[in-house]
């Protein structure tokens, strides 16, 4: 089990601040957090959640949310009148009603940049695997085809491909840094141009970005504006050799349209770690050879989890000490 490098002294059991947990907490997380906090676990109570909240949680000041599943909004906040912090261990917070929290002066913290290196690595891995056909070639070897049939069909070069990044945030900029070393020119679409990255080309909309790219990387948050941001027009603009890599959220892409575009050859391939209705994967995708699929594992490494937990502890400690939190979600 990982030990934390948190510098605060471990409090005695009576002194440990209470942190509410509504979801089932795994042994690893519990082992890391329980020396620091008195974890109030709703799922271990025989009471249904509303009764549990009204009976035990009127004074609860902090809530820990781990999996980005469910909805955490006004109706929950109304039942936690003392709440001041929702600490999330995920990067995305579209399961949290951030507006409702802001109105009630409840801070929301997320995983900050702790998942970023793994997400960026997985993105590059998916891209190389799609263009160079690594997964299918591995299958080809294992089923004896190399012996029986001969050489595997040629793939497509990664170095030098024009990469278009949708969302040049933490993950997007880390992907850009990695692919720059592959000689890929970088362009991006973002809500506004980023003056920190003068060597990357800004496009004011995704359609123009797609037109000038060979690869589209989706690394933005899912919001009302970005839902289905990748639609048929964008895929037509990307073109028949174009590749889409999605490590954001499934709903960034019009999923049925993506399947159609892959089938029809409107685009050349895709690497997908996320889907609209996980764990459901569109059946037609499972038969395609020009896609690489993964089970939402872009960030699930021990290194990420250790760092994310340390950050959550640091956020909670800061909050309970009356100090500013470390990774507040910007609205």
């Amino acid at each position: 089990m990982a030990t934390t490098t948190c510098t605060t002294n471990t409090p005695k059991i009576e002194e440990k601040p209470k942190v509410l947990v509504l979801q089932r907490i795994n042994a690893y997380f519990e082992g890391v957090l329980s020396p620091h906090f008195d974890l109030i676990k709703a799922d271990e109570s025989s009471l249904p959640i509303p009764a549990f909240l009204s009976t035990h949680c009127r004074h609860i000041r902090a809530l820990l949310v781990m999996a980005p599943i469910g909805t955490f909004g006004s109706s929950l906040l109304d039942q936690l009148p003392s709440l001041g912090l929702i600490a999330c261990t995920s990067a995305g917070v579209n399961h949290i009603d951030v507006d409702a929290c802001r109105k009630r002066s409840v801070a929301v913290t997320n995983a900050g940049e702790m998942f970023t290196p793994d997400a960026a690595d997985h993105t590059v891995g998916l891209l190389v695997d799609v263009l160079r056909r690594v997964v299918m070639a591995d299958r080809y070897v294992r089923n004896g085809s190399w012996m029986l049939i001969g050489d595997y069909p040629l793939g497509s070069k990664v170095s030098g491909k024009r990469v278009g990044i949708v969302g040049l945030g933490s993950i997007g900029s880390h992907v850009a840094k990695r692919l720059t070393a592959f000689g890929c020119p970088i362009s991006y679409f973002s809500r506004a141009p980023k003056p920190n990255y003068p060597s990357y080309t800004y496009f004011p909309n995704v359609l123009d970005l797609a037109r000038e790219s060979d690869v589209l990387i989706l690394s933005c948050a899912l919001t009302d504006e970005t839902r289905n941001i990748i639609n048929r027009d964008v895929m037509i603009a990307l073109g028949k050799d174009g590749v889409i890599i999605n490590v954001g959220r499934g709903a960034l892409i019009d999923e049925p349209e993506l399947v159609r575009c892959l089938k029809e050859g409107v685009i050349g391939g895709a690497g997908l770690d996320v889907f609209v209705n996980e764990p459901e994967v569109p059946e037609e995708l499972t038969h395609m050879e020009n896609v690489v699929l993964s089970d939402h594992r872009a960030v699930t490494t021990p290194e990420s989890f250790k760092n994310v937990l340390e950050l959550a502890i640091a956020n909670l400690d800061a909050f309970f000490s009356g100090k500013p939190v470390l990774s507040p979600v910007s609205c």
């Binding site: 690595d121 070897v141 040629l154 070069k157 000689g183 764990p279 993964s294 699930t300």
Partner: protein
């Protein structure tokens, strides 16, 4: 290159075959003969054959060269020349060319791609996602690549291209080479074992010679260890293959990404059940872009030779 006889040892890229034919060459397709008849095939056509286009599987060994008294040039469709008898070519005054630089990026891209695929288990993730067995909320833990120590055997063109890419993942770079190179940011180790003892991912990126055969042996594999990952984009014989297989099966080595094998297309079947191994069929330069560029180099070298101009990428 009118009427020049060219022995093609392997099934070529269609573009290369078309171009050789278009320029007037008479092609002798060695791969179409059964192995036991190949020397015979060479002798039968030896009055015409003045050039060989070889590849990484079949170049020009001593017996083949001896069977072709009119041979003037071996233009290899590869950068590695371990399958060409270079001393014999020198002795006979036969020129030898290869395809450096044009494939450097592809090979380096694949080395990094294989590393991430092994460490993040992408092929088994793909299989799992397609299987219908993926359950809500379940996730699989795999190991981070960024920041891991990358050790490179051989810091030539390909080794440097791999280092440049790995640096963008914040990986500390170390290497083994016959002599230290002027790269102050990269840590030099004077033996492969020292390198393997001090890295998490060991990449084979040197030429195959008598000295580097089995450069990755049991001792090096043990030094790399149960969390270490071996990436081979060099040649199969760089690695003691039975030792590698045993180490992977027994869990003494953490994982491997392999593009090359001792006896291609044979791949040890014991590896097929392992999900910490990624196996690809010698595809490090196998993109349309690169194979076309390689073909152009082969054609350019052949033309230059027969027009008595300086060769583009001569090794001998």
């Amino acid at each position: 290159m009118d009427k020049i006889g060219v022995l093609v040892t392997h099934k070529p890229l269609p573009y290369l075959e078309q171009e050789l034919t278009r320029r007037g060459c008479r092609l002798f397709r060695l791969w179409e003969s059964p192995e036991s008849r190949r020397l015979e095939f060479c002798r039968e056509n030896s009055s015409e054959i003045r050039a060989i286009v070889g590849n990484s599987n079949f170049g020009a060994d001593a017996a083949t060269i001896d069977a072709l008294p009119k041979l003037e040039i071996v233009a290899s469709f590869s950068v590695g020349l371990d399958k060409v008898d270079l001393p014999k070519c020198k002795e006979r005054g036969i020129r030898v060319t290869n395809t450096p630089d044009v494939l450097t990026d592809d090979v380096a891209d694949l080395a990094i791609g294989l590393t991430i695929s092994v460490m993040r288990r992408i092929p088994s993730a793909d299989k799992y996602a397609r299987s219908g067995a993926w359950k809500k909320g379940e996730y699989t833990l795999t190991t981070r690549f960024s920041g891991k120590r990358v050790g490179i055997l051989g810091l030539g063109r390909i080794g440097l291209a791999i280092a440049k890419r790995a640096e963008a993942f914040d990986c500390p770079i170390s290497y083994y080479s016959r002599s230290e190179k002027p790269h102050p940011n990269y840590t030099y180790y004077s033996t492969p074992i020292d390198l393997a003892s001090n890295c998490d991912i060991l990449v084979v990126a040197c030429a195959l010679t008598e000295e580097t055969r089995h450069i990755v042996n049991r001792a090096v594999i043990d030094a790399l260890g149960p969390k270490g990952v071996l990436i081979n984009i060099g040649r199969g014989p760089h690695v003691d293959e039975p030792e590698l297989v045993a180490a992977l099966v027994e869990g003494r080595l953490g994982g491997a990404g392999l593009d090359v094998f001792d006896n291609e297309p044979h791949v040890p079947e014991e590896l097929f059940a392992l999900d910490n191994v990624v196996l690809v069929p010698h595809v490090a330069s196998a993109t349309i872009e690169t194979r076309t560029a390689m073909a152009d180099l082969v054609l350019g070298n052949l033309e230059a030779h027969f027009l008595k101009k300086p060769l583009l990428t001569a090794v001998v």
